[in-house]
């Protein structure tokens, strides 16, 4: 199996501070990988190492099987990158910057550029100093999507976009995904990650705390159940994997570990179920669980 992106035991220190602590993760070909974590967790640092802008202290990263530091230029010919904090040259126009970025990769598709400018509703004749954060982000997005890259590395690309533009962005990503391109998406907008990503990695305080498909991750968490029955439900607390049983107006609510769901459902069916609602955990629940982990309180967000 060849990985588009392969990070092995990567550690990055800035002086005494350890920004990334022995992280490993892989992105397969044609996969959309969501990279989430609180502020300051190390998302951008990871991306900068992938781009060869920072030198790994230990371990390393491979992109397309090439070394991210040594073969940076070769790798970058096939990559498109959108930084989280897009800072542009104040005295150049948006159009000029887009052209420069696209030409640096070689192939220049004018039609694509015009189409994207229209989709993102961006005026290319304005100087970058007059652009808002969202508009600067659009410049970087147009330049990225106008290029014919094999891997898109996007660092919180929609943090300044309005909901309409976010929609456009998601369409663009899905289009790339459908044509088999790899996408590495660092994001805070969990609904976006849920909609776009095949697999997710969660980073906290420089460590990867969870990776897997959304289904796999959900498996690890609890499902919220609301139930109403003809007779009072008994013996629920004694069952394995049941937590936080709270009486409600017309029944009970409780949480159950995903892998114990079957036995719990067969237990409550004895009491004549009138109503049964189950809510799968959202990515947000997952995320919050890791945010609120006891040892995360003093650092992180």
């Amino acid at each position: 199996m060849t990985y588009t992106l392969d990070i092995q035991n990567l550690t990055k220190k800035f002086g005494q501070f350890t920004a990334l602590n022995d992280i490993s993760l892989q992105v397969k070909e044609g996969e959309v990988f969501g990279y989430i974590g609180p502020n300051g967790a190390g998302k951008t640092t990871t991306i900068r190492v992938l781009l060869g802008i920072l030198h790994a202290t230990q371990g390393g990263a491979k992109v397309f099987g090439l070394d991210a530091w040594k073969d940076a230029v070769e790798i970058h010919k096939r990559i498109a990158y959108v930084p989280g904090d897009v800072n542009l040259w104040p005295n150049l126009t948006g159009g000029e910057v887009i052209d420069l970025f696209v030409r640096l990769r070689g192939r220049h598709d004018r039609q694509k550029r015009e189409k994207l400018l229209e989709m993102f509703d961006l005026d290319p004749s304005k100087k970058c100093r007059t652009y808002s954060k969202g508009n600067r982000q659009k410049v970087a997005l147009v330049a990225a999507f106008a290029s014919d890259a094999d891997l898109f590395i996007l660092d919180e690309p929609t943090s300044g976009l309005d909901p309409l533009m976010e929609q456009v962005f998601q369409e663009c990503v899905l289009e790339r995904k459908n044509s088999g391109k790899g996408i590495f998406l660092s994001s805070h907008i969990l609904s976006e990650v849920e909609r776009l990503c095949d697999r997710v990695g969660i980073i906290r305080e420089g460590r990867i705390v969870e990776t897997g498909t959304l289904a796999e991750l959900r498996h690890l968490t609890r499902i919220l159940i609301n139930v109403a029955a003809e007779r009072p439900i008994e013996g629920l607390e004694a069952l394995k994997g049941v937590h936080e049983v709270i009486p409600q107006q017309d029944g009970l609510s409780f949480q159950v570990d995903s892998n114990e769901l079957g036995s719990v459902v067969s237990h409550i069916s004895q009491f004549g179920v009138k109503k049964l609602e189950s809510m799968p955990p959202t990515l947000e629940d997952l995320f919050m669980r890791h945010y609120n982990a006891p040892d995360a309180r003093d650092g992180g967000s």
Partner: protein, 620 residues
């Protein structure tokens, strides 16, 4: 408008908090430099004789153009002294022989004549006490003792003539940066609106910045004045010392006001700084033109620098020039306040036009980007340097200059210099030296641009694309090298364009365009070393790359002070590459030192590349 200045006090404290390192370093460096040179200069020119020689040097038109007129000496006294001395020296039969021995030791004529003669005096002083010449000249000293006359050129006046203008320029630049940083700079970075969203008045930030400038300049004035007075050197009195400090502080405030004004007019902090520094250059040139030409002395009074010089510090101690400059500063500041209330945040009065929708074909490589980013600055500097060169060139051959030449000839004669070098030639060499130091500024800006891009987080746009680090760094480096050649040509062409007519009429002066080009391009190896040091800093110590400006300032003062023979030990002069540059036409071009400098520049640059390729890109 109501409450325009609300909460200025808190903002002043806030700005002072942010300034505590930068401004403190500026003030400390300036004060140490100003105070430290008082005893050094006083000791150096302790004797009547060396002081008379110095006046001869300061009377040289090139020196007047550079540092302004010398006040506080009675020319008649000095002429009389010199005449007596000349008579005495000439009466010594083997004087010429001694000079020839000295010249042979020096290895031929290797400097400008005035400095050569000054060194010759030191040589004569160093002779054994029982040397026939010393015995002979003792008779002269006896004569001086018997027929005393007042030589009123005191150490303070000498110090002021020599130093004031340079320190004013440095203080001016400090103030321009200070104001631009806290007004336009903050607006550009988006910090301005955070402050404006607080309960502060529209003018509070500008007002707080100006009050900070007042505080900084007051501290500078007090420390400098007290420091100079505390040295207790004879002829450097308390009143004069304090006035010297006041003159510096007031000049600083003037440039703070100028910067505040340009910060309203221009729409970027870089534009505001460029316009302010340009104004500083114009003010400097105005007084040079006025000082050189008696008919146009009004120009020196219009220029605040020229006006401040006419305080005649340590001689007459006039306070009024400082008061006038202070008043003008207040007027300019008010104008800036008025403009600030009517303009919008982030906008200037020079409106932004819509730009190109597509990039030109040139903008398709890192080099294209570097060129595009530096183009306007390079053009502006080229034009500016051409104009300053032309201003100097226009002084050549004017009647006033001829007058100076005569005076100079007189001094040369009494000091025994043969007419090997004309005043014109010595003037041209001095121009070359000053202009080289002006021309390095855009070159270093180009070399440092890369670091600025990195700090702003724009480097990653390039390095995340198919651009190698070496390719990216070399785009800016190549442009720095190219612009060094361009700027040196601009000087030569500028001087030539204004002086061409005069020079063509009098071919005996022997100054052609080819000569001017040679005299200016010969500085290139030293400029390249400066580029090399910059590239090395960017590669190895990116956070300290601004230190190149410290080295630049140090180089200037070492070379400038090095013109005074014997003040600096040789090794101290040699830490700047400029010490190895021959000054045409007084010195000849020898290839070896130039080749060594060029090789050194290449090594430094290459080392910079190696380190740059290895290090992390930083956004701090």
């Amino acid at each position: 408008m109501k409450g325009s200045f609300t909460n200025t006090g808190s903002l002043v404290r806030f700005i002072l908090r942010r300034e505590r390192v930068v401004s403190a370093v500026w003030i400390l460096a300036l004060v140490l430099f100003s105070v430290g040179l008082v005893p050094a200069l006083g000791e150096m020119f302790g004797g009547v004789e060396s002081r008379a020689n110095l006046v001869g040097m300061l009377k040289n038109p090139s020196m007047i153009a550079m540092v302004g007129p010398a006040f506080g000496h009675d020319e008649k006294d000095i002429e009389e002294f010199s005449r007596h001395k000349m008579t005495y020296q000439a009466a010594f039969p083997r004087y010429t022989e001694y000079f020839n021995t000295f010249s042979a030791q020096e290895g031929g004529d290797t400097d400008d004549p005035v400095a050569l003669m000054a060194r010759f005096s030191i040589y004569l002083d160093g002779l054994n006490e029982d040397d026939p010449y010393k015995t002979h000249m003792r008779g002269f000293e006896d004569y001086l003792a018997a027929v005393p006359f007042e030589l009123s050129y005191n150490t303070g006046a000498l110090y002021t003539n020599f130093m004031l203008l340079w320190v004013i320029i440095t203080v001016g630049i400090m103030n321009i940066f200070l104001i631009a940083r806290h007004t336009r700079g903050d607006e550009e970075k988006g910090r301005g609106e955070v402050v404006l969203s607080l309960p502060v008045g529209r003018l509070s930030n500008l007002n707080a910045s100006m009050i900070t400038a007042v505080i900084v300049n007051t501290i500078l004035a007090l420390l400098t004045g007290l420091g100079i007075a505390a040295m207790g050197v004879e002829g450097v009195g308390f009143a004069g010392s304090m006035l010297y400090g006041v003159a510096l502080g007031v000049s600083g405030l003037f440039f703070a006001a100028v910067a505040a004004l340009f910060c309203q007019l221009s729409s970027s902090s870089r534009g505001a700084i460029s316009l302010s520094v340009l104004a500083l250059g114009v003010i400097y040139m105005l007084r040079a033109a006025g000082d050189m030409n008696g008919d146009m002395e009004a120009l020196s009074y219009i220029s605040p620098m020229g006006l401040i010089q006419r305080s005649e510090i340590f001689v007459e101690n006039y306070l009024w020039p400082s008061l006038v400059v202070l008043l003008v500063s207040v007027v300019i500041t008010s104008l800036a306040y008025a403009l600030n209330t009517v303009r919008d945040l982030g906008q200037g009065f020079i409106a932004a036009r819509p730009g190109r929708k597509e990039a030109s074909p040139l903008l398709s490589s890192p080099f294209g980007l570097a060129f595009r980013l530096l183009r306007n600055s390079v053009i502006a500097w080229f034009v500016g340097i051409f104009a300053i060169g032309a201003a100097y060139g226009s002084i050549l051959g004017t009647e006033a200059f001829e007058g100076f030449m005569e005076t100079n000839e007189f001094y040369s004669q009494i000091m025994g210099v043969s007419a090997d070098y004309t005043a014109t030639e010595s003037f041209v060499s001095t121009i070359g030296f000053i202009m080289a130091f002006i021309a390095i500024v855009p070159v270093l800006i180009a070399a440092l641009k890369l670091r600025g891009e990195e700090k702003e987080g724009r480097t990653e746009h390039m390095l995340s694309r198919a651009v190698s680090r070496a390719g990216y760094l070399s785009s800016f480096t190549v442009l720095a090298f190219l612009s060094s050649v361009l700027m040196q040509c601009a000087t030569a062409l500028g001087v030539y364009s204004a002086a061409a007519a005069v020079l063509a009429e009098s071919p005996e002066i022997g100054i052609t365009l080819g000569f001017l080009l040679r005299a200016n391009l010969v500085y290139l190896p030293a400029i390249w070393v400066m580029i090399g040091v910059t590239v090395l800093l960017v590669g190895l110590l990116p956070k300290a790359s601004g230190a190149i400006w410290g080295y630049y300032g140090l180089s200037f003062f070492l070379v400038f002070i090095g013109r005074l023979p014997g003040l600096l030990p040789e090794w101290a002069q040699n830490i700047t590459p400029f010490a190895f540059i021959p000054q045409l036409p007084m010195e000849e071009i020898t290839l070896a030192p130039l080749a060594v400098l060029t090789a050194l520049a290449a090594v430094l640059t290459a080392a910079g590349f190696i380190f740059y390729r290895r290090r992390d890109m930083l956004t701090v």
